[in-house]
């Protein structure tokens, strides 16, 4: 058992982990951040996607110990400081991009990275990017619309800022 520290959503957090404790287990059980979900055991489904040191990662496929000293962003950190929904979250609600909500945190985190690397993705690029995130409820139609809507909002805001 070792003590692991990491910055999670901007806050320094510490917990206990064994060598083989997965990051997703550490987040859910030690840090009580249950927004990141476990949907499979072969790293296909993407319900566990978080950002580690700025990049989207399947937290079921990385050890907590490997993130010691690192910076992690989870779904719990995606809202605004005043508790209102962030741009991507808001787009999901507007476009009905979620039904049961179980894949949703991973979807939001995946799309967050997509929009950082590709601010104006085509529908094909969105669908290709999301191949690592399985949804059983929505058929992806509205998730694609949410991603497009968020992209438009973010690039509109970026243009306004210029």
């Amino acid at each position: 058992m070792a003590t692991i520290s990491m910055t999670v959503n901007g806050k320094q957090m510490t917990g206990e982990a064994q060598g083989n404790t997965l990051l997703v287990e550490f987040l859910r059980t030690e840090l009580k951040l249950t927004g990141t979900h476990v949907g499979c055991d072969t790293s296909q489904c993407g319900a566990c996607v978080v950002h580690v040191n700025g990049e989207s990662v399947k937290s079921c496929s990385v050890f907590a110990s490997a993130c010691d000293g690192g910076s992690v962003s989870t779904i719990e950190g995606m809202a605004n400081d005043d508790g209102t929904l962030g741009v991507i979250q808001n787009a999901f609600q507007e476009e009905h991009g979620l039904q049961c909500g179980f894949c949703t945190p991973g979807m939001v985190m995946s799309i967050a990275e997509l929009l950082k690397v590709n601010a104006q993705p085509t529908e094909g690029e969105i669908r290709e990017w999301l191949k690592g995130n399985i949804c059983r409820c929505t058929g992806y139609h509205n998730i694609v619309k949410a991603a497009q809507s968020a992209a438009a909002t973010l690039s509109g805001a970026a243009q306004a800022a210029e």
């Binding site: 064994q18 859910r28 951040l33 249950t34 927004g35 990141t36 979900h37 476990v38 949907g39 499979c40 055991d41 072969t42 296909q44 489904c45 319900a47 989870t74 779904i75 719990e76 995606m78 809202a79 929904l85 979250q89 999901f92 609600q93 507007e94 009905h96 979620l98 039904q99 049961c100 909500g101 179980f102 894949c103 949703t104 945190p105 939001v108 529908e123 969105i126 669908r127 290709e128 999301l130 191949k131 995130n133 399985i134 949804c135 059983r136 409820c137 929505t138 058929g139 992806y140 139609h141 509205n142 998730i143 694609v144």
Partner: protein, 792 residues
């Protein structure tokens, strides 16, 4: 306070807030103080005698609290996991109903059958200890192929030496035979409806807890219907009276039917917690889900359609093997019988129909309802054989159907149902328009110029849902009623708590039911709270499946609201010093008709709880009403789907380039949610048609046992959909006029896709390919066809 007209409005969902912030409360997110963790050791053999299970080493392993086996279950005298529907066979005999122990006793019957459970301080310790369990099993030949199961000489259960659970029929065999004798043309189709795994993204989870101070048992579980679990488990398995048993299903991450059934794991954790006096938590991993969640579909059918020379349908015959798997799951016998056979008229006025179903035991995971439950199987049969007939007779697929549409309602089908209302021409017209059906030839030529074979496939479905009238299903073998319950609790300051027996697992009831109540009571939606999932709080309801929640649950809510309004009128009459018959309730106000004297809903509510100026001699204080609604009939959503595909002849790869859907769901409360349900259903139906297959080998090993091998539809596999929901024909027999929409997409879409591919390959002489239409199967069909054509 002014409010928008909330019925038919795409109100955004309130439940999204917690899901989007990562604050959803799924069962695995919950933890009980002092909880232990259960790991289930499951059979790796499909069929074996269980000679001995030695748990000595495991019991002594670090952190282990106790190891349980079938011996413990037997000694405790626990009941079998029950089946909730009894089918009577064609000779009037009840189906074979073998026992289903919580943990295997004497024999294991499928890969995944639970042998032992380790309960330990941590999940890791439980898992490690399970590897120390020594299981002595002797393999038996596995029964896997339904078509040879009757005569293979091996039986899954001693009660059924021919592996037949029941041999059932429906319809008029003599009339059907006569129709075939007089037919100008007979089309035959032998086909498979492929076995699927539901795979909701949230794996199953169950936590059992026991309070020895008051003898209260609690089960937290990922269920679509907590009251049903409480009844089945309490009455039939654990002998716990219902008033001592609470079942709580918090947020459930998808179900699609797989979370309806009472599972052994639920009974185990509830029982074990009382044995060890500590909470017991079990969470399925995904590979485990593949071998323990109920599977879906798995029919092998020979169908025949008799037509006259002009294409009028004279008769339909179907002979189906339906897989039950190794044990009877809760609803399993009803799916290929009353939910399949009865839909074999479809949208068509076929005068004679006969259906035979042999339900078979095999050494595979139990099979039960999965989104559509019997109706996708019926629709696939009809829509494929009709297209085959059209192909054989040189007729257009839309024209052949129009010749046979039912156009007079109500309509009594030859397979026991009465359709209340519908307009099949309207949805066909609509989908042909939005798909630009007339322009297909030009698109086909353009695809050909790129080396692709383009096809367009139609599917017209009607389904029966909004289940169901209790006495009807009782007569058909159901061991439960299928009503729904609602309590409307008006609080003193005018807000409303609605306790519903429905249980959303993605359908957005917290939003849509609030819309219904807001519209009925004329109060803002934010004054209304929808409560579901907890048997402690809610009157007995049957849960959410079968596209029933709005039609049945919503109707119960309306009935309860009616009772609230009726009592409110008495109170208002008193406050307004008017006759009760002069009071009307409109837009949240009780008014004296023809005047502007009124009392607001909130004022009347307060008076009910502070009954100082009150007709206390005539009515009690308080304003809380409960209604149980038993539907008069099924509801009958219907629609038309057109799928357009491009097939690459070199690789066999099928690309869905467009999917158009026109549905009649009657009245619609929230069109945004309805469209979302259709999208999800289409994705699952397309998944069945070209990607998914829960394949077993001849030894009963599930070779598609994880997401590495089972092809879940991904975003890149699907197009955006073109969906219209028609104004439709409102349901004639429930107060909202709604038909339900949750399963339609999965029901109508598979034949549309297969019809499109066959249409694309018709020039190659191909008239059928079995699902899933993987590149290998399509490519092989093309190769075989070209060999055949070369030989001719």
């Amino acid at each position: 306070m002014a409010r928008d007209n909330v019925m038919g409005t795409p109100v955004k969902r309130r439940e999204d807030l917690r899901f989007l912030k990562g604050k959803g409360r799924y069962t695995d997110d919950m933890n009980r103080p002092g909880q232990t963790y259960a790991y289930i050791l499951r059979s790796w053999s499909a069929h074996a005698t269980l000679n001995n299970v030695d748990t000595a080493a495991a019991s002594a392993a670090p952190g282990v609290v106790r190891v349980f086996t079938g011996k413990d279950i037997e000694e405790a005298g626990l009941g079998s996991v029950p089946c909730g529907w009894q089918i009577t066979d064609k000779h009037g005999e009840p189906m074979k109903e073998p026992g289903h122990p919580i943990l295997a006793i004497g024999k294991v019957r499928h890969v995944g059958d639970p042998i032992a459970v380790v309960v330990a301080e941590t999940y890791q310790q439980a898992r490690d200890a399970a590897e120390m369990i020594d299981v002595d099993m002797t393999d038996l030949p596995a029964v896997v192929d339904m078509r040879t199961a009757e005569t293979c000489g091996n039986n899954v259960h001693d009660e059924a030496t021919d592996n037949v659970c029941f041999d059932w029929e429906l319809g008029d065999a003599a009339a059907t035979d006569a129709a075939f004798a007089n037919a100008a043309h007979v089309t035959t189709l032998e086909f498979v409806n492929n076995r699927l795994v539901a795979n909701p993204m949230e794996p199953r989870c169950a936590i059992g807890d026991y309070d020895e101070n008051d003898g209260q048992h609690t089960l937290y579980t990922t269920s679509q219907n907590p009251h049903v679990i409480r009844l089945l488990m309490g009455a039939f398995v654990l002998s716990i009276p219902e008033h001592k048993l609470r079942v709580y299903a918090p947020d459930v991450g998808g179900g699609f039917g797989a979370k309806i059934f009472h599972y052994a794991e639920e009974a185990f954790v509830t029982w074990a917690a009382a044995q060890i006096r500590r909470p017991v938590k079990w969470t399925s991993d995904r590979s485990e889900a593949f071998i323990s969640d109920a599977h879906g579909r798995d029919h092998v059918t020979k169908a025949e359609l008799a037509l006259d020379a002009e294409g009028k349908f004279l008769g339909l015959r179907a002979d189906t093997y339906a897989n039950m798997g190794a044990y009877l799951s809760t609803f399993a016998p009803a799916v290929p019988t009353w939910l399949h056979g009865t839909l074999l008229a479809g949208q068509y006025a076929t005068p004679a129909v006969h259906c035979r179903v042999r339900a078979m035991f095999t050494n595979t995971v139990p099979v039960d309802a999965y989104r559509g439950a019997g109706r996708p199987e019926a629709t696939y049969l009809l829509e494929r054989i009709i297209n085959k007939a059209a192909q054989e007779m040189g007729m257009d697929q839309t024209e052949l159907r129009r010749k046979n549409f039912i156009r007079t309602f109500p309509y009594n089908t030859p397979v026991a149902l009465e359709y209340d209302t519908g307009d099949y021409d309207a949805t066909l017209d609509s989908v042909m328009k939005i798909a630009d059906y007339e322009g297909f030839a030009a698109r086909k030529a353009e695809s050909a110029s790129r080396g692709k074979l383009r096809g367009i496939g139609l599917s017209c479905y009607v389904e029966a849902c909004g289940i169901a009238p209790s006495s009807l299903v009782g007569a058909l073998g159901a061991r439960a009623g299928l009503y729904e319950a609602a309590t409307i609790r008006v609080n003193p300051t005018g807000s409303v708590s609605v306790m519903t027996g429905s249980h959303s697992h993605g359908q957005g009831h917290e939003t849509t039911f609030a819309q219904v109540v807001s519209d009925a009571l004329g109060i803002p939606e934010d004054q209304i709270e929808i409560i579901h999932g907890d048997t402690d709080k809610i009157p007995f309801g049957m849960g959410t499946y079968g596209s029933r929640s709005l039609a049945v649950g919503g109707s119960a809510i309306v009935k309860a609201v009616d009772k609230v309004v009726a009592k409110g009128k008495k109170i208002a009459a008193h406050l307004l010093e008017a006759a009760e018959s002069d009071i009307v309730f409109e837009d949240g106000q009780y008014k004296v008709a023809g005047t502007d004297r009124a009392k607001a809903f909130a004022e009347v509510s307060l008076a009910a709880y502070v009954p100082h100026n009150y007709p206390i001699e005539e009515i009690e204080p308080g304003l809380e009403e409960t209604a149980f609604y038993d539907p008069k009939n099924f509801t009958y959503p219907a629609g038309s789907y057109l799928c357009e595909v491009e097939v690459c002849p070199e690789t066999g790869k099928v690309e869905v380039v467009a999917f158009h859907a026109s549905d009649d769901f009657g009245n619609v409360v929230n069109p945004m949610i309805v469209e979302g349900q259709v999208h999800g259903g289409l994705a699952q139906g397309i998944g069945q048609a070209m990607l998914e297959n829960a394949a077993y080998d001849e030894h009963g090993q599930l070779v598609a046992g994880s997401y590495m091998d089972y092809a879940m539809p991904l975003a890149g596999d699907l197009p955006s959909f073109n969906v219209v929901t028609e104004e439709g024909t409102p349901c004639t027999h429930n107060p909202l006029g709604v038909k339900g929409c949750g399963e339609a997409g999965a029901i109508g879409s598979p034949p549309a896709l297969v019809n499109a591919v066959v249409n694309a390959l018709a020039d190659h002489g191909i008239d059928h390919i079995d699902m899933p239409l993987t590149p290998l199967r399509v490519w092989t069909a093309i190769q075989n066809a070209s060999v055949r054509q070369a030989a001719e």
